[in-house]
Symmetry: C4
Subunit: 236 residues, 4 copies
Amino acid sequence: MSFGALRERVCAANREINRVGLAILTWGNASEVDREAGVFAIKPSGIEYDKLTPEDISVVSLETGEPVAGALNPSSDTASHWHLYRAFPEIGGIAHTHSPYATAWAQAQREIPCLGTTHADAFYGAIPCTRPLTQAEIETAYELNTGKVIAEHFSENGLRALEMPGVLVSAHAPFTWGSDALQAVVTGQVLEEVAKIAAATLAIDPGQGGVDQSLLDKHYLRKHGKDATYGQEKTA
Amino acid sequence: MSFGALRERVCAANREINRVGLAILTWGNASEVDREAGVFAIKPSGIEYDKLTPEDISVVSLETGEPVAGALNPSSDTASHWHLYRAFPEIGGIAHTHSPYATAWAQAQREIPCLGTTHADAFYGAIPCTRPLTQAEIETAYELNTGKVIAEHFSENGLRALEMPGVLVSAHAPFTWGSDALQAVVTGQVLEEVAKIAAATLAIDPGQGGVDQSLLDKHYLRKHGKDATYGQEKTA
Amino acid sequence: MSFGALRERVCAANREINRVGLAILTWGNASEVDREAGVFAIKPSGIEYDKLTPEDISVVSLETGEPVAGALNPSSDTASHWHLYRAFPEIGGIAHTHSPYATAWAQAQREIPCLGTTHADAFYGAIPCTRPLTQAEIETAYELNTGKVIAEHFSENGLRALEMPGVLVSAHAPFTWGSDALQAVVTGQVLEEVAKIAAATLAIDPGQGGVDQSLLDKHYLRKHGKDATYGQEKTA
Amino acid sequence: MSFGALRERVCAANREINRVGLAILTWGNASEVDREAGVFAIKPSGIEYDKLTPEDISVVSLETGEPVAGALNPSSDTASHWHLYRAFPEIGGIAHTHSPYATAWAQAQREIPCLGTTHADAFYGAIPCTRPLTQAEIETAYELNTGKVIAEHFSENGLRALEMPGVLVSAHAPFTWGSDALQAVVTGQVLEEVAKIAAATLAIDPGQGGVDQSLLDKHYLRKHGKDATYGQEKTA
């Protein structure tokens, strides 16, 4: 099997989507890029998680967006992943799910304000929501345009992919990313929990805005960046 | 055992209702039709899912609505299933549950607006809610009239059963359907998740209406119909 | 062990409280009466469900309310159960939990309106909420007075215990009952699901009132009473 | 292994955080103090619960707040625990999680009113919420200042740690405590359930205030203090 280690990691990350409850049925997919080899590996379309094997994982060219290994059709969302790997060269893995609370915020077409330290530990500010796609963007190259509208939002708002490792696509659902496929799924899990707590917060007090910048800085920076103190090693 | 393969599939589909959390106790039933044989098989009334065996499954005549095989009384909702198989000749299986969020929308007597792609992937537009039954319809042939009020709603609103594979019965609960019993249960699972996400969306933003037709077309049609691209085979 | 079969059933019913998620920690208790023997058996106070054995179950005199068998202290709610067995001679088992949605309605001090057939299948009308206890009732014989305020509500409102097998105690939590301890727990499970769906219904549409009497009659009476058609046997 | 029994108890309590669903990933930590030995033991930073062993547990000096045993970095929240053990000499264990409903109330920056007996059984009054930390308190010695703002709230409001065994830190999350680490986690579980039921209560009836003092006294005092009657032994 070509790209064996990559496909094993991507298979495991996709199964993790199901294990942690981010997707029912086949409602999510994870991928990981090997930039030296010029490919990324992604879940095949419509296959159930508990039947997924590394051999089933599709391998796609980073240059052309076309499959180069694997017998099955890659995920219908492949072009979205492809564009994000090209727009964000610093990321190594992507996860896309329809986890319920993150999807509810996406359907409400609202960014998730940073209401506390749970959020600030992982996302450096409000989790953005893209603009809706236009009718023309939907009708032609829809999945590619989904990637483009994400990249456009980050570019226009000066957001950096590693500081803001997730986004809500308007009327659709979340994408998250990280250093590899498994980390992208973990960030999807964090996003879902943050989205759930934010919805519960606004139900208790609809007027809550967001935390002060100093609290955001403290929590984000103690876990990320050169002066991080969380965990067992400094992150470089 | 007569109709053995059919009863095994229906038994498995009913157990799936419980396994995926769509019903507590005995609050749901699934059936499947064999149109050549002129019968449908359905869960017996009041039997717990984990004790259910293929031999317990009731077989009912599609012509008369009366039992033709099986020692137990068929589901109290049998006449509703019977009418739907006759009104919708294109369907092969039906599931009825009291899953909590779909039931909440039914009790609110409101259709579920299409608020995003999760919904559009499975239902081609708002998931309808029937009118309430009249007192006369409740008092005589209630279960049959439940089927009739569903068929009436589809007929009067120009809805097609395969494009809109589910409905909310006002003040009651959902029915879903598909190519067979298991697919009807899967659609019930999708409906419950869509109903939950829609409720959460309106809690975040009560003003949300529904997605544009172009997004609905894109998502519904990439999974269904002759030009579908999702999964590993074209659906004809 | 005296009253062995009774204590085994009560032990199993208490473990069921935990198994179906109606109580965390030790937040619930079930009991069953043997009217011929003049006793009821009840969970001991503060013992965890997964450590509970039939020998642990307390046996209490129906005449005096005092323990007659079992080495442990009976539940702190024993006097509430005792009064209900005397006020409602037609019941055989009682369950008391702090299941979250039923408790939320009790804390809101509101009856649960009958919003659909899920409710009507088990409860013949709105599930009542008692008045708050007075300061004097709280300070002296509190647990006994909890039973009394339930019986008072049923008496003053012409409710019959078998048609309305549950109640919310204001600012406290639900009690349910039935033919035996296990049936009381099952009814507690139904009450929690009905309470959850009712809360979700009002979140979607705060204006919902309640179903028509004819729908209530149809659903309640097809499962209960001399003309019931649900399940595998007529109930006498 | 030094402090072996203490580290085993703290390891078990941390695993319990995960087992009862109070934290995903590594979002919670528990500690226990040995006041004679002048140390407390706490979870190491960033280690997953199912990989945690007693040897991994960090031991910290109660006098200096510095590690004295264990090869791993202690939790990033160690200084908060340290301050609480010094401010509240009557407590033996502390738990800190980001459990969703308690965190939602903390993010809403609102105390949880005592709306019923479920709450009154464990907390003698409204569960307090601290003031937000100032920018200066966030920027320097943040974790220590988190402990200080809790102690300040208790001191200024005349609250006693054993009667009010938990607190919400504004825009952050809950801390709970008790006689040992496991009891602190159990109280965290109670707080989460109480927070969930309170949110559901206000969703049903936004106007609910809180129970009368007599009901609070009855429920709190039947489980706690010298005249407690709950369980199998008098608590002294």
